[in-house]
Amino acid sequence: MIRLDNLTKVFDTPDGAVVAADHISMEVPRGEICVLLGPSGCGKTTTLKMINRIVRSTSGKVFLDGEDTSGLDTEALRRNIGYVIQQIGLFPNMTIEENITVVPKLLGWDKQRYKTRARELMDMIAMDAEAFLKRYPSELSGGQQQRIGVARALAADPPVMLMDEPFGAIDPINRAVIQDEFLKMQAELQKTIMFVSHDIDEAIKMGDRIAIFREGKLVQYSEPDELLSAPKNTFVESFLGEDRALKRLNLVRVRDVISDEIGTVVGNDTLTTARERIDAHGYRDAILLVDDRRRPIGVISRDTTGSHQGYCRDHMRGLPAVVNLGDDLRKVASLMFAHDTTWLPCVDDNGTLCGQITQRDMTHHLGSRYRARRSAADSEKPVGS
């Protein structure tokens, strides 16, 4: 959808030429978020701005939807690209409503249509239209302004969005909230987005793909999980940080690591049966008890099977925790630590048992290099998580 072909920018400065972007070639598929990531001054903003010609490229081409944009009129090109600048840049002379309907007006929408659109957008960014539309930007908090900036870029429903550190000016808590809202929105809108960030955690959270820049060059362009598991060189490795394996916990889902082999007992089984199954599976401390619809309801501990007689239903202990197939490993790890256990039962959306996840499986999964494309294909991105 967005394709950059050897895009290059050389700035002529008094101290000589600065190569801000050096033959950047990459492609962002339709509906995906690509995060440009890298240290300060590495050329992220420059690359982004060459797409909507705020910065004129020295050489190279930009294709949108397969079309070479160099043939397009600058204003027409820009009206088809939503643009969120880092400094927000709301027009202080206009009300919020005027701000977010600026592009529809430029495109000649009729009044009824853009008024309706303004309300729609306010709903989308979870702000009260009645309370805010008639206000001026100076009467909004920084976070609210930033949302309006996003709404303004979305107003004419452009297929492509360019966002330069759009959530940079917000405190961490509100940033997480806005990121979540944005991802929820994106799950519906399916825009093709280039997103500049210098925050690795934000990149992992938001990006379907991450492009790592260094001194004007594109060093690695990968999906987040691949990036974290197989950094191309020591620069990427050190940029990602020592805890990059832990960062992957966010990206991997229970369904990627689950082992469906799990022994269970039901209430009517005897403790002797339970003991036999524990031994057969080699479980160290307990076995899971499920009801007649295979929903986990408790555990039978190994010690109980040794010291008591009778039916399982009379001797079960409470369940420490259950995880869902869609949960990420970060949550799983946290639950394991909290309940001092090395395994947890996994259920699907109906609450039916699907298998278990063990600490060993997790360690194995994270510790291995990136193994199979397969898991990338069926593990969805953490959209809306």
């Binding site: 204003e75 600048i85 027009f91 202080p92 002379n93 430029l106 001026y136 009467e139 303004r152």
Partner: protein
Amino acid sequence: MPIRSLSSALKLGAAILLFLAGVWAQASGLVDEFRFYWPDIRYLSVQHLWLTAISGGLAVVVAVPLGVLLSRPSVSRWAESLMQLLNVGTTIPTLAVLALSMSFLGIGTAPAIFGLFVATLLPIARNTYVGLRSVSPALMEAAAGIGMSPLQRLLRVELPNALYVIFAGIRTALAINIGTVPLAFLIGAGGLGELIFTGIDLYDTVMMLSGAIPTALLAVLVDVMIALITFLVVPRGVNPARQR
């Protein structure tokens, strides 16, 4: 806002002084003497205002586009030096400007209007230029990135955001203008200067004040008028006077 409360305090003080002066004038029988000049005051005030309106109007019409032109990126190379030139121009005393324009255009209304026009031009052009140049680059980038043409950017973003500064320039300029009009009498253009200077020549205080007081009142009137227009015309979001 401290500046506003200060200026309103000043206005109140002026009003009180004016009132006390009125009381004193009444007591000393001055009012009757002023009445004597009333027809002159009326006639000359109108003339005075015309001089201001024509020269000031022309100055606005020329200076705002000039400031806009100078603020365009394509002329930015010369703009600064031109502004310096204008700044130097501002320091030339208005009387000298009038004298110069008289030496080119002779005696009468035309050289007066021209001289006043030049004196008024500079503050407006400078404020327009400065106002437009101080619109934040981020705003300009947002406007461009959204797909506005250069003209749309000027009309919808730059001018509205610079409007307050531009009006401040107009306000200053007209205050200068209206205070300078009495000098126009010296080159034969009439106005309240006629009473002032004749009064001075004749040691006739009443006559002089009959020119001076209306001049001051006109200045205040015009100032209030521009302030009102500013209040109404500049969008609330960028109007310090209308911030809640």
